[in-house]
Subunit: 433 residues, 2 copies
């Protein structure tokens, strides 16, 4: 096994002080490192060592080099193995840097799937981590314990909340596309042309894929609905839901509106002459799609084996075309793509399902604008496993670099998080001394 890549800084570390450990998720650790500003902000306060660990099979942590994504090499990609990497790393780290009488309580941090991992690390390795801050961690959804229609319903709700005419406009666009595509080849060509696609849609499967590509754009706009502009990854304006909704309503019709909204994400550089679906969106076992990046293959494999993301649309509780993404959809794709069948139920068995109460010291934070939030823990589980809701908050908002435009809600939640983390550190220190 090749080593996993790390990002770290000891600029503020007082020897013996805490270790803030980010449980890397599905992407290069360098880009995660740039996104997670809050940990660095906390570091000076707690004189902590920061370590970000890259998840195996992502970024540069490729166990079989350029052959990593060959079918026969994928078996070592599991949640358990990723956690074991982190456990061994932490065990060695504390053995080297924190010999008695140093204490170095470790606090795990993670956002989204990284938050799921920081939770699981605390559940399974309380000997190594004193507590976990799990931001936007869809622990229940990942384990297949949610109904499966909450994600896109809540994307829709984010747009409706700004202006109820927006979801209507999106529906109108899809209805028109559906009408046109019902007219055969010529209709598909017209949809392709009006959607400004680089390659015309060939068949119904292409069309469904394009619908998902559109849906994913709205999903990202809802996830990243922050009060300030961002440029880590695609550049987005402040409040992109509102901004794209305004474009939708200004457009001449539904299809034109959808193009405008989708372009905010996929053409954020404003230099595309047409849209290349396959550049942005590769169908996979995640209904929100994968990409052409190498890491997307790993994510496809993970959603084909342990991680369940069976989110569907029905055009009734959401604004998107009906698209049932079922266990059967998943099985067919995974067998063809990887020669594997999913293991439904396993993650719930292994990581305690909805009964997290035997653990302790976990913060589950969620923004109430984040469409993923209902996949996670929204209510206190016990006195020390607490849920925090960020009013007006987006996906992983608390973990981002603090910004002057931050609402009071996220400032308050970050303060509560810092207080609890401080308490965990004190308790762990007292226990050891």
């Amino acid at each position: 096994m090749q080593r996993i890549t790390l990002q770290h800084t000891d600029a503020f570390w007082r020897k013996g002080g805490p270790i803030f450990f980010y449980t890397g998720n599905e992407g290069p650790i360098t880009s995660i490192w740039n996104e997670i500003g809050f940990m660095k902000d906390l570091t000076a306060k707690f004189e902590a060592l920061i370590v970000f660990a890259e998840h195996r099979y992502y970024g540069e942590s490729l166990p079989f080099g350029e052959n990593t994504f060959a079918r026969e090499n994928m078996g070592l990609l599991t949640v358990e193995q990723a956690l074991a990497d982190y456990a061994i790393l932490l065990s060695n780290l504390t053995a080297v840097f924190c010999q008695d009488p140093d204490v170095c309580p470790v606090i795990a941090f993670g956002g989204s799937y990284g938050g799921v991992l920081s939770t699981f690390l605390r559940l399974k390795y309380p000997n190594l981590v004193a507590g976990a801050l799990a931001s936007s961690a869809n622990v229940y959804m990942s384990a297949g314990l949610t109904p499966g229609n909450e994600l896109f319903q809540d994307v829709t709700e984010d747009f409706r909340r700004y202006n109820p005419r927006c979801p209507d406009r999106v529906r109108e666009g899809f209805t028109e596309m559906e009408r046109l595509s019902g007219q055969g080849k010529q209709g598909l060509l017209e949809v392709s042309s009006r959607m400004n696609l680089c390659s015309p849609l060939q068949d119904r499967a292409d069309l469904v894929n394009m619908y998902r590509w559109v849906r994913e754009a709205f999903t990202v706009l809802a996830m990243e609905d922050l009060p300030y502009s961002i440029s880590n990854g695609p550049s987005l304006p402040a409040y992109p839901v509102n901004a794209s909704c305004d474009l939708l309503l200004k457009a001449t019709d539904g299809i034109e509106g959808i193009i405008q909204a989708v372009g905010m994400l996929y053409n954020f550089t404003s230099d595309l002459t047409c849209f290349d679906l396959h550049q942005d969106f590769v169908p996979c076992a995640d209904p929100t799609g994968c990409s052409l990046m190498p890491g997307a293959k790993a994510w496809d494999y993970q959603t084909c084996t342990e991680i369940s993301l069976l989110e569907s649309t029905n055009n009734v509780t959401d604004m998107f075309p009906p698209d049932a993404f079922t266990e059967e959809t998943r099985v067919a794709h995974c067998w063809e793509r990887w020669g594997v069948t999913p293991r439904p139920g396993w993650l719930a068995t292994q990581f305690w399902g909805k009964d997290l109460s035997p653990s302790s010291n976990i913060i589950f934070s969620n923004g109430d604008l984040d469409p993923w939030r209902r996949g996670g823990v929204l209510q206190n589980v016990s006195s020390s496993i607490v849920a925090m809701v960020i009013e007006g908050g987006a996906h992983m908002m608390d973990l981002r670099v603090p910004n002057p435009a931050d609402p009071q809600s996220v400032i308050r939640v970050r303060q509560q998080e810092a207080d609890l983390i401080g308490q965990w550190i004190r308790e762990a220190t007292n226990q050891r001394e």
Copy 2:
């Protein structure tokens, strides 16, 4: 994966009542089923369903049939995989038999390595087991966290406690063997002859192996030092330490004494005309030896990978010839036999080392005559992780079928165990209702 074999009875089960689950260890589940009488005794009291699960790679639970023990098929034999088998089994069992409003709290039971497994199951799957009774569970030793000279020192101590002249006699025998073997081939022949071996010792390696074979006999006599005779496995008289010690002292010299003592175990049927070392004792990564039984191969592999049993002798704190069983000894054997290198430290990282306090509801019971006891937990870890010592108790004594000759100590410990188990069941039931 082939199914794992079960033994079970619902003779006393009240639907919705508790499930008593034995985490099978290194052997056929049928023989373990016959040995663990206490669980059946408890069953009527608690109206429980009893399920004994066989450990993968033992008994009939061979994932690759007759090719199971080929090197390339051994990788699926890990503690984690065995626990996952039990977790999936329990998850399915409760889903089928205990749908709401039934509760069915599961209590894990295990002795020796099985006790280690029942502990680990409670640590890692508190969602599935409400508590664990771990009898003679050498959790610390298995994880490589003990000094490594306690086992044979305590075997020696058991004999010394009955009569200090016994260890002297054993030492005298070994000294004489060592003196004879120093005289070359002829001396080895004389040792072989006086020890009544079927095949003469060829070299020093043979001699060392014979010493270990002797040492193992004394170890078993000490482990099984019960106040009544047993016949599950080898037949032994009541108090075999005392009985063999008497034989040692009656013998004409040390070597003759050792033969008499060893014969109590290896020739319990009294029909052997000579001793075949290789029948009783196969050198392996467990210094107490393996056997010719198929399961012994699996145990060798487990002690070659995750489970650490580096117990040595020095002839100072114990009565046996000096024999340092080091990590190097282990590495050399494991590489040659299986093409693997051990993973020292991994079990301690994975199963919390000596910091079990984040868990709860575990009983660690140990007999104070059991030479394995210092490999385990002898003091309370917390208010709900408690150590119980059985005065005058042997290995796994509390789990055995109650016997009229049982001392008050084991009767008292069994009562305390039943009380705590009852409390765990009530708590789990109240939580669910």
